[in-house]
Symmetry: C2
Subunit: 161 residues, 2 copies
């Protein structure tokens, strides 16, 4: 992901190519029980993420995905099908909330919107972009809201001008 | 993770057992290149997370872990060695930032502090607790700051009183 030029550059979006209100939507990713348990075994080993029977007696009343799993699936969808930012999706910070849990069988998609674009004062070759991404399930319910602060390069030509 | 009683209850912390300024520290988890690449292949397939050679030409100058990987490892350390909250660690929202990248060989630990404790008005059996967790590497540099908003149950006896 070095600075692209020519035809290749046309495929990536630089700071100048973004505008507030710009939207994108990904395809869906369907979660099953084995994915939920596999992620949780590695990163969030709690009863409500590991075992459907044990999860019935918890606050969730059944197996749910780790919020960090939902966040990671969201990142996967954004990387492979979200806005093709030049240099990649480089996050500096994020605010994330999980208004409702993700359960086995949920088909998740991500809908994003550019909220703010701020050219950097200290680094004239880049800017900071805030993007809000809602992760929705097959019933169109929002399972995660992510507001990510990303570093986005300016187009190389613009830099020299 | 149902409501515990007797001896078992003593092992878990309820809302009444927490206080602002309460701290905890985990052991370390050492990341290697294969863990970084394995996570990224599933959830964040970008050059700077996937391939050490290709990563040299990116903004990071070498292989770095996905921020969501750092967040997931932090969760693992908090679940297994952080504050043993009754009913488990149930996050409603989180603010996360990554002041510097995590690289292969980094040994991460998490230092947490309770920031705020707010009994719920609508649900008298629980409260909302904000916990700040710094993830630090072997040079004591902060690689992630997480402020998590969690739901914590009140002690069952207190509820009835």
């Amino acid at each position: 992901m070095t600075e692209a030029s020519g035809d290749v550059a046309q495929r990536f979006l630089y700071l100048e190519d973004l505008h507030v209100g710009q939207r994108s939507t990904t395809r869906t990713h369907t979660l099953d029980e084995s994915q939920i348990v596999s992620f949780a075994s590695q990163f969030d080993p709690q009863a409500f993420h590991l075992d459907a029977a044990a999860a019935r007696d918890t606050v969730f009343g059944g197996l749910v995905a780790s919020g960090w799993h939902t966040a990671s699936i969201t990142m996967r969808l954004l990387v492979t099908e979200g806005l093709p930012i030049a240099g990649g999706l480089v996050g500096r910070a994020a605010e994330v909330s999980w208004p409702r849990p993700t359960r086995p069988g949920d088909a998740l998609r991500v809908e994003s919107e550019v909220l703010e674009i701020t050219p950097s004062r200290s680094s004239p070759d880049r800017g900071i972009v805030k993007v809000r991404s809602e992760t929705r399930n097959q019933r169109d319910e929002v399972v995660q809201i992510l507001v990510a602060t990303m570093v986005v390069p300016r187009r190389p030509g613009a830099r020299e001008g």
